[in-house]
């Protein structure tokens, strides 16, 4: 077990390093000059040269890369003399736009993204699992057909369409609430829910449709397994046959998918956040892309990669925990 964990952690570190290198290379190949970016609009050629020097942009790429990676773990001092600034652990550099540490920017935006992702996940699990289970247990009845047709329709809805429709109906026509704005949970839990409800629905609908279909297929498949027949032959009640013997294995692949999806969403749901102007990591990313704010883009890319590879590990651990056959590896 320890060996397994150690191997996996090494693998994660390696993956992140590769991703880091790739992003770094992409920016190096881009025509834009970070020094000019950082310096601002009316910047003399002399100043740009100075800035280049200060930022270490004249060093070989590999040196710059090493400095960046090292900085994440040990922090680094940028510039020299009276202009020197120390950027503490974990240092992802400073935003060209605001001059703020990238880490602080991301940390600032994380709660909104996490709120959106986790709340939406709860919603799509409730909807998707119950619809999928109902469909599977009422297979080939009108209930099943209705649910399946509905999921196809919903999965095909573009996110921006759902968002606009919800906003128009709920806010404009019915006037049930003002235009949502993000309120931190710690500040006002009820306000947090009220304002996030529309983004949650928007983000959750597509996932709910996909999860419903997946749950249905998985439940139908497991209910045909010999061990389910054995459970019936033991004389167990149908509730127990489904709930204990069928559902657990059926939900294993669903749990795996949930892990991956959450991992991807924690670092921001780009479109949904932008549509609702939620101050999340995804919105920050979209804004930074517009402004070619390289350090921020780098930081978020790494953060997202970190969430995805970590959630992969978590998924594997959970998998081993539910399925004893997976424990040997």
């Amino acid at each position: 077990m320890t060996g397994f964990l150690l191997r996996r952690l090494l693998g994660i570190a390696g993956t992140l390093l590769v991703i880091c290198a790739l992003t770094f290379a992409v920016f190096y190949l881009l025509p834009s000059d970070p020094a000019a970016q950082f310096c601002g609009k009316d910047c003399s050629a002399d100043r740009i040269v100075m800035v280049r020097q200060q930022m270490g942009l004249d060093d070989p790429l590999i040196v710059q890369f090493g400095r960046y990676v090292l900085g994440i773990f040990a922090g680094q001092t940028l510039g020299s003399g009276q202009y020197a600034v120390h950027c503490g652990f974990p240092c992802f550099g400073y935003s060209f736009q605001s001059g703020q540490p990238v880490w602080d920017l991301m940390l600032d935006r994380l709660p909104a993204s996490a709120s959106l992702a986790l709340g939406a996940a709860v919603l799509w699990l409730l909807l998707g699992l119950s619809a999928g289970l109902l469909s599977a247990l009422r297979r080939n009845t009108w209930v099943d057909r209705t649910v399946m047709v509905a999921t196809i329709g919903i999965a095909a809805l573009p996110v921006y369409f759902t968002a606009m429709l919800l906003l128009y109906v709920v806010v404009t026509v019915l006037g049930l609430m003002p235009y949502p704005r993000y309120i931190a949970f710690g500040e006002d839990p009820v306000g947090w829910i009220r304002n996030l409800i529309l983004p949650w629905i928007t983000l959750a609908l597509t996932f709910a449709a996909i999860y419903a279909r997946m749950t249905r297929n998985s439940v139908i498949e497991t209910m045909a397994e010999p061990y389910v027949r054995t459970a019936r032959a033991k004389g167990l009640r149908e509730r127990r046959v489904v709930g204990r013997h069928g559902l657990r294995p059926a939900l294993t692949p669903v749990a795996t998918m949930l892990g991956m999806d959450l991992g991807g969403l924690l670092a921001g749901a780009l479109i949904t956040e932008s549509l609702f102007s939620l101050p999340g990591v995804g919105k920050l990313f979209a804004d930074s892309l517009n402004k070619a704010d390289q350090p921020v883009i780098m930081g978020i890319t790494l953060l997202a990669s970190f969430f995805i590879v970590t959630s992969n590990l978590v998924v594997d651990l959970v998998y081993a925990w539910i399925d004893p056959r997976a424990r040997l590896t």
Partner: protein, 326 residues
């Protein structure tokens, strides 16, 4: 009163390709302390029969009569049949690796059945699980009860499956090819275990197999199935000494024999089992039948032959019975 009396049992599935009549009216009786062997090729309807007795067919039309200890099970409320399952009629399935749940320990799976029918504490049920695991010859049962199916060897797993069946002290065990998935030497051990437990506890046993060698070892009565019907029914010793149906004879001829001259090939029955969707008219076996090939009779293609009493306790469903025995 017999322990199990099956009369005119028929099972029909509604499939996308049309109705499949998997079992077409069979009769058999199982007495306490006796073993009925059901033998037949793949697809002859053996498993469908056993599941019909257990009331485990969902979405299939099951007709006829299944009387267990005097109670009719077909058409009985699901709840009353459920109470019999596992408790009075238990099943041993073919491949214990897939038939046991991969997520739960062996002990858990046995204890769960016991608690369902006997109630009592978790602890008592666990103790019962360890006890039956010991009964079926699993060494160090207390420790093995805490292991999962994949940690067992094939033979031990099948023993655990038998322990599960025995845990509630049933009156009847239906074993559907309990040894097919095992090595030959382990097969014999598991078979002896099953027969031994059956004798010791005075259980009725239905043993399903496609291996006549297995039947010869432990069955008292034999039902030979072909294409969902009974071809021949007889006491085991009679079936082996005086088989009547051409299909039974074919099966016997294809058995490996110790006294066969070296190098003589096994004679398998030519042809393949009938399609369940479009079975041949008349006797389902006639396209492969050596007697029909020689003495071809319109009787064979006209109607399905009826089972006829040919000797004490011996029935044969062949229109050419006189020809074969004459």
């Amino acid at each position: 009163m017999s322990l199990l009396e099956v009369r005119g049992l028929a099972v029909e599935f509604d499939t996308a390709e049309g109705p499949v009549r998997a079992v077409r009216g069979i009769d058999f009786t199982v007495e306490r302390g006796r073993t009925l062997g059901i033998v037949g090729e793949s697809g002859s309807g053996k498993s469908v029969t056993s599941l019909a007795v257990m009331g485990l067919h969902r979405g299939a039309a099951v007709t006829g009569s299944v009387r267990f200890d005097g109670t009719e099970l077909i058409g009985a409320p699901e709840e009353s049949v459920r109470r019999l399952r596992g408790r009075r009629i238990a099943m041993v399935f073919q491949d214990a690796l897939t038939a046991l749940h991969p997520y739960f320990t062996i002990g858990d799976q046995i204890a769960e059945a016991y608690r369902e029918h006997h109630g009592g504490s978790r602890k008592a049920a666990r103790a019962r699980a360890v006890e039956v695991l010991g009964d079926v010859g699993i060494p160090d049962p207390a420790r093995r009860a805490r292991e999962h199916p994949h940690q067992f060897s094939g033979g031990m797993r099948q023993r655990a499956m038998i322990a599960l069946a025995l845990s509630c002290e049933p009156d009847l065990i239906i074993a559907d090819e309990p040894t097919t998935a095992l090595d030959v030497t382990v097969q014999a051990q598991v078979l002896d275990l099953l027969a031994g437990q059956q004798q010791a506890r005075g259980l009725g046993l239905v043993l399903i197999t496609h291996d006549l060698g297995v039947i010869a070892r432990i069955a008292d009565e034999v039902l030979v199935m072909y294409g969902g019907s009974a071809a021949e029914q007889a006491p085991a010793d009679r079936l082996f000494t005086a088989p009547r149906h051409p299909y039974t004879r074919g099966l016997l001829d294809s058995l490996p024999r110790l006294d066969a001259p070296e190098g003589e090939p096994l004679r398998a029955i030519p042809g393949s089992p009938p399609s369940p969707l479009a079975p041949p008219p008349g006797c389902a076996f006639h396209p492969r039948c050596a007697v029909y090939a020689e003495h071809g009779s319109p009787l064979c293609t006209a109607d399905r032959p009826l089972l006829r009493l040919v000797a004490e306790g011996h029935r044969n469903a062949c229109a050419l019975d006189e020809v074969t025995t004459g």
